[in-house]
């Protein structure tokens, strides 16, 4: 009987596939492996080395698409997971599978899916495979567009927790309305208006012996975006009902988030300004987990995301329990032919951002701030807290000198409250000045050489750093790179981090082999950027897609 059933299944499968003319199968594959060696200077002792000596992370996605139908799976294998990845990844299996089809304007997804409502501050499931982050939902999602300009979404699902699922169930609805598309007489208006609203609710059983915790926690959001020619304005407000959790020390306070953006831009000039306030906004689909592995929402950090190595030593991450921040950025291209611009023009990028705590006051004389089981604290919405968490000013100038040579200079000044951001006990506010000088030189057709000289100076933490990099590329296939970071200002441990790497790319297939030491951070070499943990050894990365 089983055989007949199977046979029938494949029979229909084959006929079905054959009846769809436009079907196509696509996929990708990635494998990162590393052999580890000990290094006392970097704090990697023999005991810290993985017993396996060799670790590897791999995955492959396959997506089949035909007309209004698509289905896909992802297989992941961590045998065992690379250092820096959570040990709960150790293992292998199909972690992602979905079927999606569209019929009469209704778009149905069953299985695993990623989703974002608005800016994501109320709900976002996403993946950063190279960081080991994946909080995908497994469940059902419906999308429906009854008329042009109205987009409705609803979902119910549980979130991925490594090879498991988080305990809570998340339900959400979202509507987005493109006003100019809905009302015909506004179609040609220069002002375009978009509004949106969401409601999200999560459920988790209350097993707490002491407190009566809410089993259903709701949150709502509304957003507005207005575009008028070269001007753009956007705002989103999120309100979350009381949600005691391990992250907020089980206080019963409600949460709020506000994000406002404004920008002006035309060819050759762009300016943007953003402000935000986050108050008690961590939201996990398991209230007992302190990490972010099953975050229901995403709270963007309003600071510049750097790519140069030394600029990524002190990166900021949003403090969900409360912060207020500002960011301004100017992008300008000095015209060709002007005195400053020269023959090719000159690029200018200026960024300023700061983040402070929020104002927190005791709810009454006898209750300390953030006391478990209380309302936590009172906070004046418009009052900025006394404590500075982060501040950064950066300026980058780039200028092409002639057909062969391009120069880029960068200066960054960072104030980094290490106690608040990463919990360092003794380093307090780390103040750093960073200078970076990059040259790009075209030797001959398809052959180029790129160099970076970087310097970070600080009196705090690990002291000064210097770095040099030389990268040689032969288009379209090869790259070779050599670099060294030197923590020469470190009082106790002056560590060198040398690294050599080479790679081969053909079409969508890329091999990269590296040997040396790496400190933690975003690593950009050979044409791509990815985040890597600290290590010493040989690494091999293979990626392809079709």
């Amino acid at each position: 009987m089983k055989k007949i059933l199977l046979s029938l299944l494949f029979c229909t499968g084959a006929t079905y596939a054959q009846s769809i003319q436009n079907g196509s199968l696509h996929g990708n594959f990635q494998s990162n492996s590393q052999v580890y060696y000990e290094d006392a200077n970097m704090g990697i002792a023999a005991d810290d080395l993985p017993d396996e000596s060799f670790l590897t992370n791999s995955f492959a996605n396959l997506i089949y698409t035909a007309d209004n139908f698509s289905a896909g799976i992802r297989y992941e294998a961590y045998q065992n997971a690379l250092l820096g990845f959570d040990k709960r990844y150790n293992g292998e299996g199909i972690t992602y599978r979905f079927v999606q089809f569209k019929k009469d304007g209704l778009d149905v997804t069953v299985g695993d899916f990623y989703e974002q409502f608005g800016s994501g501050m109320i709900l976002r499931a996403y993946e950063e495979r190279n960081l080991g982050y994946d909080n995908a939902f497994e469940g059902v999602r419906l999308k429906y567009s009854p008329v042009k300009g109205i987009y409705l979404k609803s979902l119910v699902g549980k979130q991925r927790l490594y090879f498991d699922k988080a305990e809570g169930i998340v339900r959400g609805i979202d509507g987005e309305f493109s006003i100019n598309e809905i009302f015909e007489n506004m179609t040609d208006s220069k002002t375009q208006i978009y509004i949106g609203a969401s409601f999200v609710s999560k459920f988790q059983k209350d097993l707490d012996p002491i407190y009566n915790l809410p089993e259903n926690v709701g949150s709502w959001a509304s957003r507005l975006s207005v575009n008028h020619g070269k001007w753009n304005f956007g705002a989103e407000y999120v309100h979350k009902y009381n949600d005691p959790s391990a992250t907020n020390n089980f206080i019963f306070k409600e949460g709020q988030a506000l994000l406002v953006n404004a920008s002006y831009s035309r060819r050759g000039l762009g300016f943007s300004l953003a402000a935000k306030r986050i108050d008690n906004m961590s939201s996990n689909s398991d209230r007992n987990l302190k990490g972010q592995e099953v975050s229901v929402n995403y709270l963007p950090a309003l600071t510049k995301q750097h790519a140069y190595t030394l600029a990524t030593i002190y990166p900021y991450g949003t403090i969900a329990n409360g912060e207020m921040g500002l960011q301004a950025e100017l992008n300008y291209k000095v015209k060709k032919g002007s005195k400053l611009g020269g023959k090719y023009g000159m690029g200018l990028l200026v960024n300023f951002s700061n983040v402070y705590g929020i104002n927190k006051e005791q709810i009454d004389e006898n209750t300390p701030i953030d006391a478990t089981g209380t309302l936590g604290y009172n906070s004046d919405f418009f009052k900025v807290g006394d404590e500075k968490y982060f501040q950064e000013f950066s300026i980058e100038l780039s200028r092409k000198i002639n057909r062969k040579l391009k120069l880029i200079g960068t200066y960054i000044n960072t104030h980094y409250n290490s106690e608040r951001i990463v919990g360092y006990e003794y380093h307090g506010m780390i103040k750093a000045n960073i200078l970076i000088f990059e040259t790009q030189y075209k030797i001959k057709s398809k052959h180029s050489i790129r160099t970076e000289i970087q310097h970070l100076s600080t009196k705090e933490h690990e002291g000064n750093w210097a770095m040099g990099l030389v990268e040689y590329t032969i288009s379209p296939h090869y790259f070779f790179a050599i670099q060294n970071l030197y923590n020469y200002g470190n009082k106790t441990n002056k560590v060198h981090y040398p690294n050599v790497s080479a790679g081969y790319t053909k079409g969508t297939t890329r091999f990269a082999l590296g040997y040396g030491k790496q400190r933690q951070g975003i690593f950009c070499v050979g044409g791509v950027c990815r985040e890597v943990p600290k290590s010493n050894g040989i690494s091999l990365s293979i990626t392809t897609s079709f």
Partner: protein, 163 residues
């Protein structure tokens, strides 16, 4: 059992036949314009001329290098082939409001879209950026390439000329 094997082989053969096709359709996915409008990729249009779709982000240096390099030769490319470049930013809400000012500040002459949660990136199986696709008159993918080295745009242009 024989029938089962036969059917499995049949399914595999037809799957393989699809995979070996030289062109493949561009997926239909909702993304956003920089103004905030939901746009489906089916709406990409260039009057039957080739389209280049390039994935980038404001924090990705090689991506900016690639788009800068194409900017310099874009007028010539357009005169010769009528090609249109569509640059899709995968920046999330941390940076998505800065995408348009950034691209404008760079003086890029491309159509810019946002894919803030990676829906299109996923549908196209993009592993890392920059990743560039070339579409023919029927909006089918005929060529794709990952990463960027100085001079790679010349290979892309050779592929455009073949269409």
């Amino acid at each position: 059992m024989k029938r089962l094997i036969l059917n499995i082989s049949l399914s595999l053969i037809c799957l393989c036949a699809y995979a070996q096709e030289k062109t493949s359709p561009f997926p239909s996915v909702d993304i956003k314009s920089v103004e905030g409008r939901i746009v489906n990729t089916d709406q990409f249009e260039n009057d039957g001329k080739p389209i280049v779709v390039s994935f980038w982000a404001t924090w990705c240096k090689p991506c900016a290098k690639e788009l800068d390099a194409i900017t310099e030769v874009y007028d010539d490319w357009q005169d010769e082939t009528g090609v249109k470049v569509i640059a899709i930013s995968i920046d999330d809400s941390r940076n998505s409001a800065k995408v348009s000012p950034y691209a404008n500040g760079k003086d890029w002459p491309f159509e810019i879209y946002l894919d803030p949660n990676g829906d299109l990136k996923r549908a196209l199986n993009v592993n890392a950026i920059p990743h560039t696709f070339l579409l023919n008159a029927n909006k089918e993918i005929v060529w794709q390439h990952t990463s960027y080295f100085d001079g790679d745009e010349e290979e892309l242009f050779e592929e455009i000329l073949k269409l």
